[in-house]
């Protein structure tokens, strides 16, 4: 399945909903969306990956790039993911220590609010 992207603001945090496969073909679209959001001064991002069916290192690179951009503005990029097959690549690459990974969007937002 191709990649579907959406985003909405929730409690001041921009939630990016991703559905489908993030790979070398589709990852540029996610990259463009993250850049667009940062350019519009959205520096608190949550990427909801609950409907992601496939993620490779190209996708990881896009997420790391997004993190880099928001961190430049003292922002954050957290992930929502409970799928073991997706989490596996974060574990292999050690990125579980880099991203905040939560079980739900509400949990991610609550954790981010609590840090403020």
């Amino acid at each position: 399945m191709d990649l579907k992207l959406g985003h909405s603001n929730k409690d001041g945090i921009e939630v990016v909903d991703v559905e489908g496969e993030i790979d070398v073909y589709t990852a540029p679209r996610l990259r463009e969306l993250l850049i667009e959001l940062v350019n519009k001064k959205n520096y608190q991002l949550v990427v909801n990956m609950e409907k992601v069916e496939f993620l490779d290192s190209t996708g990881l690179g896009v997420l790391v790039g997004g993190l880099k951009r928001v961190r430049a503005h003292d922002g954050s990029l957290d992930l929502v993911c409970t799928q073991e097959r997706i989490l596996k690549i974060f574990r292999i690459t050690g990125l579980t220590k880099v991203f905040g990974i939560y079980e739900s969007v509400d949990q991610a937002i609550a954790a981010r609010k609590a840090e403020k």
């Binding site: 070398v24 073909y25 496939f54 290192s57 190209t58 990881l60 790391v64 596996k88 292999i92 690459t93």
Partner: protein, 175 residues
């Protein structure tokens, strides 16, 4: 004996096709269902790497994927035709689980990434900011992911390019 061979032009859209074919052949060969996601991801990584290399160096040449089942192991070999060291980014030596993989040219970074040994990729050849957050993934992260997924990985010169062979032991007798 190769059961299925696929060649495709170096276009990102075809990486998904290669993943789908590899997963279908792996399923038919009878490897454990729990390994299918690993096969899919590893083949995707190898093909993505090959596509990127071909687009830089030889966009007119196809990438070859061979899927073999010898009854005990399921092996996928992704072969590209791009010069391994042309961009200064040599593939890593990858033999994390008892394999004897070789890599053309010098191994990158700290002498080879072996995600399969439990050490994460991040931190080796990774660019980090002042507060320790990773700002850029290492160039060889795809190969490191493959070594973390497959039971054995062998990277070797193949003609002008590189061959990435990855295999999984069959854990089911069903064919």
């Amino acid at each position: 004996m190769a059961t299925v061979e696929v060649t495709f032009p170096p276009l990102p859209a075809h990486v998904r096709t290669a993943r789908l074919v590899a997963t279908a052949v792996a399923r038919r060969s009878g490897i454990d269902e729990s390994l299918l996601d690993e096969v899919r991801l590893a083949v995707g990584e190898a093909c993505s790497r090959a596509v990127e290399a071909h687009r830089k160096h030889c966009p007119g040449q196809p990438i070859r994927v061979a899927l073999c089942d010898d009854g005990e192991r399921f092996e996928v070999v992704v072969t590209d035709a791009a010069p391994a060291d042309a961009d200064g980014e040599a593939p890593v030596a990858a033999a994390p689980r008892g394999g004897n993989g070789t890599a053309r040219g010098a191994a990158a970074g700290d002498g080879g990434t072996a995600a399969g040994d439990g050490a994460p990729v991040a931190g080796r050849g990774t660019t980090a900011g002042v507060d320790g957050v990773i700002l850029q993934l290492p160039a060889d992260v795809g190969l490191a992911v493959i070594t973390g997924l497959a039971d054995d990985v062998h990277i070797s010169p193949a003609g002008d390019g590189t061959s990435v062979a990855m295999s999984w032991k069959r854990r089911s007798a069903t064919a």
